[in-house]
């Protein structure tokens, strides 16, 4: 019953938030821990993405954050798959861990690419039509998170003659990265995301060590949320959602509120 009330409050909150659509730090994690629908969760979390000054990056959401917000994981997987097929979001495999995936709305991704292309154009000369080809042919048709070299060349050649310099340009811009296991396959990547990923893994370690140092390896959610992280530009709420979703932290409901503890299994 408590969950039902929470959800109703959330739905009202969601409507208001969707209208305002800018960051809202005052909405605490405690009230908004679970959502009923993946798309709604994605939108809310996108709106709650912290603003970082040094790097300009569009909001992205980690898959583990979705798992912690929506109760049924299978439903999350399936809804993500259908959103991917409808070309609303794009999923990227991140290199920060075993199974980390980042989800970005397609419009945000295209904005990010444009931003990067503009910066590159200011700096040096080169053949920049490859970015246009990339955007028109590759992103439209290839929905998975990785692509083979042959296929990449064949899709890019729909726009014009492809040369090796073009592919190097794409890699330099940060749109593609080579796979370590397989030299002829590439992962799609979000450009300019490197420092944030570093902050992500450092922030994870910091949160875990914060809780590990405590005597009983647990802490109430309300004060934990207010703590500031030293090594990560992302806020505590982001990290908590991610860690709960990947199973490293567990939540428990107590009469005084939600308590977060390290899971030991």
């Amino acid at each position: 019953m408590e969950k039902g009330k929470k959800r109703r409050r959330e739905e009202e909150g969601e409507e208001i938030e969707a209208e305002s659509s800018d960051l809202d730090h005052s909405l605490s994690l405690e009230k908004n821990l679970t959502f009923s629908d993946t798309l709604m969760a994605l939108r809310i979390m996108r709106a709650q993405f912290p603003q970082i000054d040094k790097v300009s990056i569009q909001p992205f959401i980690l898959q583990s954050q979705l798992y912690s917000s929506v109760k049924d994981r299978t439903q999350v997987d399936r809804e993500l798959e259908s959103l991917k097929r409808e070309k609303v979001v794009r999923i990227f495999k991140l290199n920060t861990g075993q199974d980390d995936h980042g989800i970005m709305f397609l419009d945000d991704y295209l904005k990010q690419i444009e931003h990067v292309v503009k910066r590159m154009e200011e700096r040096k000369q080169g053949d920049f039509e490859v970015f246009k080809w990339f955007r028109e042919h590759v992103i439209e048709s290839k929905l998975e998170s990785s692509i083979e070299h042959q296929e990449l060349c064949s899709l890019l050649s729909l726009g014009g003659r492809v040369r090796d310099q073009h592919i190097s340009l794409l890699i330099n811009a940060g749109l593609l990265t080579r796979q370590l296991i397989d030299p002829s396959m590439y992962w799609f990547a979000i450009p300019n995301i490197g420092s944030i990923l570093k902050g992500l893994s450092q922030g994870r370690k910091e949160v875990l060590s914060l809780l590990n140092r405590r005597r009983y390896k647990e802490m109430m959610l309300a004060p934990l949320e207010k703590m500031r992280l030293r090594f990560s530009p992302l806020d505590m709420r982001f990290h908590l959602r991610d860690l709960i979703g990947s199973g490293l932290l567990k939540t428990a409901h107590t009469p005084t509120g939600i308590v977060i503890r390290i899971s030991k299994d």
Binding site: T74, E81, D99, E144
Partner: protein, 606 residues
């Protein structure tokens, strides 16, 4: 259950649904068994377990100390605890001492599917041996190019007797038992093959999972594999409706031939055939990969170019469901995926998992009606519902990581399911076996009033809490601390005294080992008692310590205990032996004075 029987009698339920309801009820009540104990002679971890498929009577286990043992799980060898605990010792075991036994760890042991006359073992010493069960001799020996990770024989095979072997070499080899020679090899994997299974719907189809993360399907009558599972090909739910499938086809851009052809439009593969048909390639493509020579490949070998992966790490476990429609695969990326075998798609069911063992292959088990899958996750065996991915049961009882589990669906009394995963017996109707190292826990009861019932009940109660050995002081004339010191080569590492009797306290202190033994006194003694012991014990660095209320701060620690109970990590109900209303309070006192029970609850309202 009685309601179901009544309904069946009246004809309201059909026989199949009746039996499946009873079975699923039984499975949801799986617990560690107190009445059945399987005694393992192994000194290393158990890597594989299998109950024979013909009778469901003999259990074969393979261990890291190069030994394999066979047990009869239906007929115990002897009884303990006054006839209540059935002990199953091994019927025989073949180990390093055997003249042609394995030299290194045995990674897999399987029964010959037709009868229990033969069994096959594969080991890290690069050999696969076929043993005759009755004479316990090696009848056939196959040398492999690398460490053998898994062996498998098809249970449906009527026209071939092939052992499929997955080794650290990239090729899967098929060994023929009938002729003693190798049949052929299957190439396509790019790294070692950790796990393989024969299909349960066709005797010619073999499924292999490799360290490169790929799952390949092979028809052994042809060259090359006919399918590689790709985790990005997915379907939502059990089977997509017909329209969705054609849409999925267009989305599927990574076709088999994309790697070779330089055509822009990827060719739609005709791969959704019944098992056994190879892929029809419309063009035999050339492979203009960067820097490698052009090759014209046999159509069956084109699958080598397919680099689809099923998992982001190595594939560590495979299990085909009994009905042959689904495949469950576990990977070292700590994910378990459910694949629809007919369409070859990932069904996107998410099993809540945090960590899985990554260096060793694990053995999964599926219940008979394919509703639950049992997965060993580190020290716990978790049962998940196959379709929703939610964890329904967790079996905690092992001290080390669990390697393998087996679900046996037969029993001596019809239709009761058994489940084995280690060295412990599970509660009726389930048994457990684990692949772990054993630690010894000895329980002593100190009774002043000898009552037969009490002994037995203790034998059972303490078994539930993990006791491995049991000493009754009444059985020996020597003081019990000397008995224990003898049993444990000098003394125990830790002893805990809980009754408060001063003699028990002294015995607890004197039975710990010199140098590192610690005796903890929990029970509250009488205020007039005197603790007397030889000072030489103190000199020998034995430690005596006491604890008041368990060193607990009630405010912060009691909630943790309650939490543990709620998570079913503490089984408090088993401590409560009697329950009486307030009016019969004297009975409770009598129970206590007689020593009948552990804890008696008095209900104050009655």
């Amino acid at each position: 259950m009685w309601k179901e029987i009544g309904d069946r009698e009246a004809g309201k339920i059909r026989p199949n649904s009746f039996s499946s309801r009873i079975k699923s009820n039984r499975i949801s009540n799986l617990q560690l068994s107190n009445y059945k104990d399987i005694v393992s002679p192994h000194r290393g971890s158990i890597n594989s377990l299998q109950v024979d498929l013909t009778e469901g009577r003999y259990l074969l286990s393979a261990s890291s100390d190069a030994s394999a043992a066979v047990y009869d799980i239906q007929k115990p060898t002897n009884y303990e605890g006054n006839g209540l605990i059935a002990k199953h010792k091994c019927l025989f075991s073949v180990d390093k001492q055997h003249e042609r036994g394995h030299k290194y760890a045995i990674s897999s042991a399987i029964w010959y599917p037709v009868d229990t006359g033969l069994f096959v073992t594969g080991s890290f010493d690069h050999y696969i041996k076929v043993w005759d069960t009755n004479t316990r001799q090696v009848v056939m020996n196959f040398k492999m190019p690398g460490k053998v990770y898994r062996t498998a024989m098809s249970t449906l095979a009527t026209s071939h007797m092939l052992i499929a072997a997955g080794t650290e070499d990239v090729q899967v080899r098929l060994c023929d038992v009938a002729s003693g020679a190798f049949a052929h090899t299957l190439s396509g994997h790019r790294d070692g093959v950790m796990t393989l299974e024969w299909s349960t719907s066709s005797e010619w189809v073999l499924i292999t999972g490799g360290c490169d993360g790929a799952i390949r399907f092979w028809d052994i009558r042809r060259a090359g594999c006919f399918r590689v599972l790709d985790q990005s090909q997915s379907q939502l739910g059990r089977r997509p409706p017909v329209l969705d499938r054609s849409a999925a086809n267009k989305v599927f851009s990574k076709s088999r031939s994309a790697g070779q052809s330089s055509l822009v439009k990827p060719q739609a593969p005709q791969k959704k055939h019944a098992n056994g048909h190879p892929i029809k390639q419309t063009t035999v493509g050339r492979m203009p990969a960067k820097g490698s020579a052009r090759q014209r490949l046999h159509p069956g070998m084109l699958s080598i170019q397919d680099r689809a992966t099923a998992h982001y790490g190595a594939v560590t476990g495979l299990k085909v469901t009994e009905d042959g429609m689904y495949l469950l695969s576990a990977g070292s990326d700590s994910r378990i995926k459910l694949w629809d075998l007919e369409s070859g798609y990932n069904t996107l069911v998410n099993y809540e998992m945090v960590r899985l063992q990554t260096s060793k292959p694990i053995q999964l088990a599926v219940s008979e009606d394919s509703a639950r899958v049992f997965v060993p996750c580190m020290t716990v065996v978790k049962a998940f519902d196959v379709w929703t991915g939610k964890m329904s049961l967790a079996f905690r009882g092992h001290y080390e990581s669990v390697n393998c589990c087996w679900f046996s669906s037969q029993d001596q009394v019809a239709m009761i399911d058994k489940f084995l995963s280690g060295l412990r017996a599970n509660r009726f109707p389930m048994t457990w076996m684990k692949g772990t190292l054993k630690t010894r826990i000895i329980g002593v009861i100190r009774i002043y009033f000898y009552i037969d019932l009490f002994q037995i009940s203790h034998a059972i109660y303490t078994k539930k809490f993990g006791v491995t050995e049991f000493v009754n002081p009444k059985d020996h004339d020597k003081p019990v601390q000397e008995v224990i010191a003898e049993m444990t080569d000098g003394g125990v590492d830790r002893s805990v005294e809980c009754t408060g009797s001063i003699n028990a306290m002294i015995a607890a202190y004197e039975c710990v080992h010199d140098g590192w033994g610690v005796a903890v006194l929990v029970g509250v003694p009488n205020k007039d008692d005197a603790f007397k012991t030889h000072p030489v014990n103190v000199l020998n660095e034995r430690t005596l310590k006491g604890t008041f209320f368990g060193n607990y701060k009630p405010r912060s620690d009691l909630p943790l205990v309650v939490e543990k109970y709620m998570n079913k990590e503490l089984e408090l109900e088993k401590f409560i032996t009697h329950e009486v209303p307030f009016s019969e309070i004297n009975k409770a006192f009598e129970h206590m004075l007689r020593g009948d029970g552990l804890r008696c609850v008095i209900r104050m309202d009655a």
